[in-house]
């Protein structure tokens, strides 16, 4: 193994170092890479959206023959003219770029807000509200293989009381004093453990990304380590 001769790998390595250089201080290399990232990511998601959503779900529905070479199966289906609605709303959305017609974009925005609100209301009610309550109403005494399980019992009690006390902490309509205050305090400790676990996981995720970049530099680019 040796240093890579692929120009793309060299570009990747240069950009990796350019971003890393920010650890020293803000500099022209970082600014270059940062600005490139903004432009590239905007175009990337735009292309993905156009080819994966707009072409099969809008163009193929409105005028199937247009996509005969790209999506042969979709081109034989009859046109669905109801899809003029999202086309018109989409064009209205683009009017936001025009200073005088920007108010028209509110119609498209209203559709997006309505769809999000309508679907989230039932989805959150079912899975995150009722679902989580249902999973927290569990037997406090745990019996495993016919015998009492100490760890299982403690775990079940922590889950039940943890959820209960965590919710009490979020309840601000009553002053957190007395028994209510004690429960709220327990809730804080449970939430602190959750935040600690979340923090630990976030750091791990970032470090694994860093390891990936190091593998790219020392493996793909320099060829010092094998991947």
């Amino acid at each position: 193994m040796g240093i890579s001769g692929d120009i793309w790998v060299w570009i990747g390595a240069f950009l990796t170092f350019s971003i890393m250089s920010f650890l020293y201080k803000d500099n022209p290399f970082y600014k270059f890479a940062e600005h490139l990232f903004v432009g590239v990511s905007a175009a990337y998601w735009m292309c993905m959206g156009i080819w994966q959503t707009l072409v099969p779900n809008l163009i193929a529905k409105l005028h199937p023959p247009v996509v005969s070479e790209i999506l042969p199966a979709a081109s034989t289906k009859p046109a669905e003219y109801s899809y003029i609605i999202p086309l018109v709303l989409g064009i209205m959305f683009l009017m936001r770029l025009s200073p005088k017609g920007a108010w028209i974009s509110r119609w498209a925005l209203a559709f997006i807000v309505g769809t999000t609100a309508g679907s989230y209301l039932t989805r959150y009610l079912r899975s995150d509200f009722l679902g989580q309550i249902q999973y927290s109403i569990i037997p406090l005494i745990s019996i495993e293989d016919g015998s009492f399980s100490f760890v299982g019992t403690i775990s079940n009690i922590i889950i039940f009381l943890g959820v209960f006390c965590g919710l009490i902490y979020f309840f601000f309509s009553k002053e957190h004093k007395g028994t209510f205050g004690v429960a709220s305090k327990v809730g804080i400790y449970i939430l602190m453990i959750t935040f600690g676990a979340g923090f630990g996981y976030t750091v791990m995720a970032r470090i694994s990304l860093l390891v990936g970049r190091m593998q790219f530099i020392f493996g793909d680019w320099l060829g010092i380590i094998s991947r």
Binding site: G12, A33, G49, A117, T122, L125, Q132, M192, R206
Partner: protein, 229 residues
């Protein structure tokens, strides 16, 4: 007119989607599905709007030669090159009929060697900043901060080989305190309880906000009363 129509659209679309869950039959079931697809389509127009706005902002910056304007040329060039490569599927072995992310296409190379390294390195930088920020923020000033710190430390140790090496000598009867086991227990029991409490709280907030939006009580997304645009 400028406010009433959007409020009516939100009301009708929102209620249709709610009714479609309870009455999944014609016309509500089909309308609900259609609205979800329409949403995806309009979201793509939002991406296009974002691209257009990006060009406008950075084009203005270059035109007026504002501070750091040469970097705006980099943004515009990066945007245009990836856009052309993606829209015309340049270098795609199967031409326009091929998959956008097919290996060998210019778009996929741009993703693998420009977009992915930039994104991964940008996020990996956060490892350094999170470490330095946590050093300042998580000093065990009180009991709550200590609990947070200990939980984070156990999770970090438990998910790496060093966590196993540190407590491998513990007897079987104390295996619960073996750091990887302890990390697993924290993740599945107290963390789960906290997550559930947070999820229930969030869901109540989302439900309340959704109702406010559908009923037209919450109108901030329409802009200010006196705003013309």
């Amino acid at each position: 007119m400028r406010r009433q129509v959007p409020l009516a659209i939100t009301f009708i679309v929102g209620w249709t989607l709610i009714i479609a869950v309870f009455i999944p039959h014609p016309p509500f079931g089909q309308l609900g599905e259609n609205f979800t697809t329409y949403f995806d389509i309009i979201a793509v127009f939002a991406f296009i709007l974002g691209g257009g706005n990006l060009i406008r902002v950075h084009g203005n910056k270059v035109y007026k030669k504002r501070q750091d304007w040469p970097y705006s040329i980099v943004t515009i060039l990066g945007f245009v090159v990836v856009l052309i490569a993606g829209l015309f599927k340049i270098g795609n072995p199967d031409g326009l009929s091929g998959d956008l992310t097919q290996p060998g296409s210019l778009f996929q190379d741009l993703y693998t060697y420009i977009f992915a390294p930039l994104q991964a390195t940008m996020f990996s930088l956060l490892a350094f900043f999170v470490a330095s920020a946590s050093y300042r923020a998580f000093r065990a000033k009180n009991k709550e901060a200590t609990v947070l710190l200990v939980a984070a430390f156990i999770i970090l140790l438990g998910r790496t080989p060093i966590g196993g090496y540190l407590t491998f000598w513990l007897p079987e009867s104390l295996s619960f305190f073996h750091i990887p086991n302890l990390a697993y227990w924290i993740m599945t029991i107290p963390n789960l309880a906290g997550q559930r409490a947070i999820l229930i709280g969030i869901s109540l907030g989302v439900i309340a906000m959704s109702l406010r939006l559908i009923l037209g009580i919450e109108r901030s997304y329409l802009g200010g009363e006196g705003e013309r645009s």
